[in-house]
């Protein structure tokens, strides 16, 4: 109760747009005489002056007369609300007509006051209620945007699935003719008696083109088989080491220093080694793109208990694991430029990329997240307080009992 009273007696930052000097004075005294409704007050005589003030001061609410020297009627509210999107607005006018009153609400006003029909008590109540309404309106708009985003995510992932399925089918059909071309050229290269240099060049180029087409098809196949996983017990550290060996060349090229901090903790997890290797490679390469030449990437693993993984903030899904469950955490950190806050929530969207010009397809992190979801494991990417980015992966640790159970099952199958 006290809190609400406090809320409703909080002084406001108010803008009055009113050309009639008497009305100005009345409002001013209502707003400023103790107990003051307004802690900050500016009065404009024209709409244009009001708009100018909005851009200069951080008002919370505006009291707006509709008939001003430079604007009359409904036009006043439509123009003003366009310039003051974040402001709550109370229309204050001498004539009252219901249709006009309702019309102002449609164009951005939160309430409608009739001059000389209210006292400072009513004014205070109206202003605070307007602020609340404006807040609800903002909440609604935010909820709408979130919903829109979720819908877009659904559409994207559906697109993703369809493209994947299509790609898988097409890839298979294309591979057969490719095999014919590839073997045919190999045969000709080895069996043509005394071919001239042009014939050799043509064959070489056909072979090269076939190999390139094959690579593209393999990428598509890779994309289409995102739902096929072969999970076996594995050491996360050995997966990371293999991933590092595959990207070492790119790291050396940029003279990036790689620091590995692997604890001796138990690091057994149930994963598809190739797929998780793919995730780790992707994250290392992202880090490598982010750091300057001679930059630094640190990869570490440790064992934690859910949900306290020693990382800032929370995981989107608090029920990803049971509380107290043993979790293997991988951290891949860089000292690069970080991710701009305004795109941080978009980085997992399919086809979102900051490197389109450099050939990024925007599928990398999206595939990573997909792979992690298929493992019922977590991925989180955030800007480190000390600068640079940290990508964290967390997996349910495999217990000895689970490992034994897997081995027994495997024996049974053989």
């Amino acid at each position: 109760m006290d809190e609400i009273r406090k809320k409703f007696s909080r002084p406001l930052k108010v803008l009055v747009i009113e050309d009639n000097v008497i009305d100005q004075k009345i409002l001013e005294s209502m707003l400023t005489e103790p107990p003051a409704i307004a802690s900050f007050l500016k009065i404009a005589g024209k709409l244009s002056e009001g708009i100018k003030l909005v851009n200069e001061f951080p008002f919370e609410i505006a009291i707006l007369d509709l008939n001003l020297p430079d604007s009359q009627g409904i036009e006043t509210i439509t123009v003003f609300s366009r310039h003051a999107l974040d402001l709550a607005i109370v229309v204050n006018t001498g004539v009252y007509e219901d249709d006009l009153g309702l019309e102002t609400l449609k164009h951005g006003a939160q309430d409608f006051l009739i001059k000389s029909k209210y006292n400072s008590y009513v004014l205070n109540k109206v202003l605070h209620y307007c602020l609340e309404r404006k807040q609800r309106e903002r909440d609604l708009v935010n909820a709408y945007h979130e919903l829109k985003e979720a819908q877009q995510h659904l559409i994207d992932s559906e697109k993703f699935k369809i493209v994947g399925r299509l790609a898988g089918g097409v890839a298979h059909e294309v591979k057969n003719p490719l095999a014919t071309i590839s073997y045919g050229i190999t045969y000709l290269q080895q069996n043509l008696k005394t071919p001239d240099s042009n014939q050799l060049k043509v064959m070489e180029n056909i072979k090269e083109a076939a190999d390139r087409a094959d690579k593209i098809v393999n990428d598509l196949l890779d994309f289409s088989s995102l739902d096929q996983f072969q999970k076996t017990p594995a050491s996360i550290q050995s997966v990371i080491r293999k991933a590092i060996s595959l990207v070492q060349y790119q790291l050396d090229e940029k003279q990036i220093q790689l620091i590995e901090i692997f604890t001796d903790d138990h690091d057994r997890v149930m994963i598809d080694k190739n797929r998780i290797g793919q995730v780790v490679i992707n994250l290392i390469l992202n880090a490598a793109h982010a750091v300057p030449p001679h930059g630094e990437i640190q990869i570490s693993t440790h064992l934690s208990a859910w949900p306290d993984l020693g990382l800032p903030g929370s995981w989107g899904k608090p029920d990803l694991f049971a509380s107290g469950e043993k979790i293997v955490v991988i951290r891949i950190e860089d000292n690069g430029v970080g991710i701009p806050e305004n795109v941080l929530d978009k980085i997992f969207e399919p086809f979102f990329t900051s490197r389109r010009a450099a050939g990024g397809t925007g599928l990398g992190l999206s595939i990573c997240r997909n792979i992690m979801e298929h493992h019922e494991a977590g991925i989180k990417i955030f800007n480190r307080p000390e600068g640079g980015v940290c990508a964290a992966l967390c997996f349910r640790a495999l217990s000895q009992a689970q490992e034994d159970e897997y081995a027994a099952k495997k024996d049974l199958n053989h």
């Binding site: 003719p177 095999a179 590839s182 073997y183 190999t186 045969y187 069996n191 076939a210 190739n274």
Partner: protein, 129 residues
């Protein structure tokens, strides 16, 4: 040395024509082609190959079903089978030593030299058995 007999069972005609010519050019194999997988067993009985190259996705009868027929056949069950497939990436097969569930796999298109190596390795194995 006796020339080894290889039977290719694959519905992709252009591929089988080129592969037969390529393998026979090495002068160490006699190659027979069957494009209709439903006739695989009958053809194999007639030809008695030392090794079978078997496609996986085919109309009428798919590769694995053909392989089961061979495994259940009194004479044919000894013949080593190498699966040829366009469904798997070469790396995926390499990582598993060319074996999936105990069978030998080759991804299409694997370099021709690798295919020949795999054939030779597995033919010799069958002789020593």
């Amino acid at each position: 040395m006796r020339q080894k007999k290889i039977l290719i069972i694959d519905d992709e005609k252009t591929f089988t024509v080129v592969l037969k010519i390529s393998l026979e050019a090495l002068a160490k194999y006699i190659v027979y082609v069957e494009n209709d997988s439903s006739r695989a067993v009958a053809t194999a009985c007639k030809f008695r190959p030392d090794l079978i190259l078997l496609d996986i996705i085919m109309p009428y009868k798919e590769g694995p079903d053909v392989a089961i027929e061979f495994k259940n056949h009194p004479f044919l069950k000894q013949i080593p089978i190498v699966f040829l497939t366009a469904n798997i990436r070469p790396e995926e097969i390499d990582e598993q030593n060319n074996r999936i569930a105990g069978h030998i796999f080759i991804a299409k298109p694997t370099p021709f030299e690798d295919l020949v190596q795999t054939i030779d390795r597995n033919i010799h194995q069958s002789v020593s058995l």
